[in-house]
Symmetry: C2
Subunit: 444 residues, 2 copies
């Protein structure tokens, strides 16, 4: 495995509120029980995300279809929200060159731009239609049930525009949805829209290795086979029941224990990398929506994940992390190898006091800031851990995200919640629907 | 004032943990004392941000210079971090049309693109140089002291590229820095770089109405005069000592009281608007860095602000807000008027169950989701408030951000911390510098 987890700053005595060696033994037993439950749930098919290979055939079918689209589109537009949008956004930021959508077609090697419309704001939708040429655009309607109000509103608007312009819907809309259930599949079948499946046992926030994220990624040339291979490798590594060799287990146990025993329930996710910045909001959904709920006794539990970015947020949030309430852990994500780095030059007449930067690279500066921040936090008694990827590439991103998914279902056991449901959002949906229906009634 | 604050869902009995009427009276006295202190600090010049008019002359001088640049640049690049970047990013998202940097020059009316390079990641910097034509680019080096490692590293790299290409630095670099102190002003004077001032009594996170943010904004055509007028109007409104008529006071008191008396120290900022999404990270810095520190007794205090976006995060974080620990308040920001809205059409053969959307607008859907989320949270005993802007325009954005700045210094009184310093980030800076110096030593 070429992902490392450095948890020395989650341990006592380095950080006094951290785990002492004696406690770690007991945590190993907690882990073993949680791990056994998770293995049983994986074996009985409840956690479909962990069985990457079971979706190989659908992935191959999708790639074959993507191959037929080359040169046909200038713009790919994801219509989705939450788990249907965050994965594509993360992959775009991590794996496409900087400023992809601002580059010319030639700079993109003829590959399309990728837009992720993750809201129902009319200003964004109208603005998008000013940017794109409809006849050269493919919309991906991504909703497992087809019952998501925002995505359906987007679909209705877009479909109307396409029909209105006399364009064939089957050339401009593809669908990712449940293999059997839901209201989108009948529409796709009736109208001949290309349609790909999210397995019934894979929820939105666990859907990164399904067409929910791999379809938009593959359409812009991201190597989704490698992404899925990294995920499968990490899934295999996480099958091991020894805590000291199980990265997902360590992450889950350390975070849960920090909240349960040290009152550290705010879990900061802080990549030191512009490319990896999208991992933080993706993780926020995974961790918040899976674990923030009522536990087996009806208690309101769960960590509050918080997205940050290094070095940027040293100038925004780190003051709070250092000196505010002692209720946080910080997880850094770093890159070991940088295929591209830039040297900070010495200049005649450089501003005073900048000599120490001369000749260093920007990557060195970024790394120095990360380790200095970790040390400074430890000095103040604040725990942190660091996950280091060998490289920011599809394989490692697949492995990293699978690590977090496995950690999430393990944490579900520790927090004693069902990590795959989200009962708390139903009431808001019902109230919104009722208010819209009432206003429709009035307008009649 | 055309900004409204609806705090009914921060009050008992609507939300049981909220403020009862009797308690509100007592809070009025706390507010009065805090307000008197803040007024004194404004009068003695400690809080320069509140005196917008004192910077009118510098603003006029800056606008006159900006007028001379028309047509000269295709790209404006902010080199800055933290308070030197977040304001420009927020204004870009809020006040430029959607996808500004992806639009053609003609679609932008010949105005330049705006890039905000807020990190020292070499991949981003290299990617930026692939996007831009150096001879048609203006870099804004924004640092009050010139002592910010990240911004100085960016400057050294960029300056080297400009010199190397034989371009005149004074045509491609402008500086925003302290009027007297710091290491950048001597360089600017020596090399004839256009140079604008951040007053000594205005800190980075309070600098939105100074050239730190108004220079990049004005260069892309944003009406910064109107922005500053909105800020000045709100500053005047906040001079009033009656809590029920002081929006900043209400916001500060309600948030502080929620943490101090109800254990609700996580303060979610959740605009229901793509344009206003950048307000959340801007607020996060302001609230976190100003208040997260040791108080007068050495206790570690301060709220943890958390950025969210509606409706998007209903599918990510709202599950946690609804059913997780009862440690949060939510502040919604909404728009009353939408100059642009889109109707969701009815379609023959629309997916089953979407009838209730037909004929509604996207704006109506967004508003219905916001009020449903607020009601659902209240139903679960979770407090929230809603700030409603008449419109998303420069004037209202100036007023809104001044409201938050005034609330921040009031909250400083309530939390008993100095809201203008950030002592907790010094240690990390020193450690990073020491590690770079040591590596330079080794390389000698």
């Amino acid at each position: 495995m070429t992902i490392q987890l450095d948890s020395t700053r989650m341990r006592a005595p380095r950080v006094p509120s951290g785990v002492a060696d004696a406690e770690w033994q007991g945590l190993g037993e907690r882990f073993a029980a949680a791990h056994a439950s998770v293995r049983a749930r994986i074996a009985d098919g409840s956690y479909g995300f962990a069985d990457v290979a079971s979706q190989d055939a659908e992935h191959e079918r999708m790639l074959a279809w993507v191959a037929t689209t080359h040169g046909r589109y200038d713009d790919i537009v994801v219509l989705g929200i939450g788990g249907s949008a965050l994965g594509a956004s993360m992959l775009r930021t991590a794996l496409l060159p900087y400023g992809w959508n601002e580059r010319s077609g030639a700079q993109r090697g003829g590959r399309p731009r990728l837009h992720v419309v993750d809201n129902v704001d009319p200003r964004s939708m109208a603005g998008l239609f000013e940017l794109i040429e409809l006849s050269r655009t493919l919309f991906l309607v991504i909703s497992k049930s087809g019952g998501t109000a925002e995505t359906m509103a987007q679909y209705l608007y877009v479909r109307h525009r396409i029909d209105d312009q006399g364009l064939p819907a089957s050339h401009h809309i593809a669908v990712v949805t449940d293999p059997v259930a839901g209201v989108l599949r009948p529409v796709a079948e009736r109208d001949g829209l290309p349609c790909f499946s999210v397995p019934a046992n894979v929820g939105g926030r666990f859907s990164l290795f399904t067409p929910v994220a791999t379809l938009p990624a593959a359409l812009v040339g991201i190597d989704t086979t490698s992404l899925r291979a990294g995920a499968a490798a990490m899934a295999t590594a996480c099958a091991g029941h020894v805590l000291d060799a199980n990265l997902a287990g360590q992450f889950a146990v350390l975070q849960w224990r920090a909240q349960a025993r040290a009152g550290q329930g705010t879990h900061v996710m802080m990549p030191y990398s512009d490319a990896l910045r999208g991992v933080a909001p993706w993780f926020v959904q995974l961790w918040a929506e899976s674990l923030g709920k009522q536990d087996a006794d009806g208690a309101h539990v769960g960590p509050t994940p918080l997205a940050a970015l290094g070095a940027t947020d040293q100038h925004s949030q780190v003051q709070l992390f250092m000196e505010g309430p002692t209720d946080k852990t910080v997880t850094f994500i770093t890159e070991r190898e940088r295929p591209l780095d830039l040297r900070i030059p010495g200049l005649p007449g450089a501003p005073e006091g900048t000599g120490y930067l001369e000749g260093r690279t920007m990557g060195t500066l970024l790394d120095a800031e990360q380790s200095a921040t970790a040390d400074a936090l430890a000095e103040m008694g604040r725990p942190s851990m660091a996950i280091c990827l060998d490289r920011c590439d599809p394989w490692h991103l697949g492995a990293l995200t699978m690590l977090f998914m496995q950690a999430t279902v393990l944490a579900g056991e520790l927090y004693r919640v069902n990590p795959t449901n989200q009962p708390g959002v139903e009431l808001g949906k019902q109230l919104a629907r009722r208010s819209l229906e009432a206003s429709a009634e009035r307008n009649r």
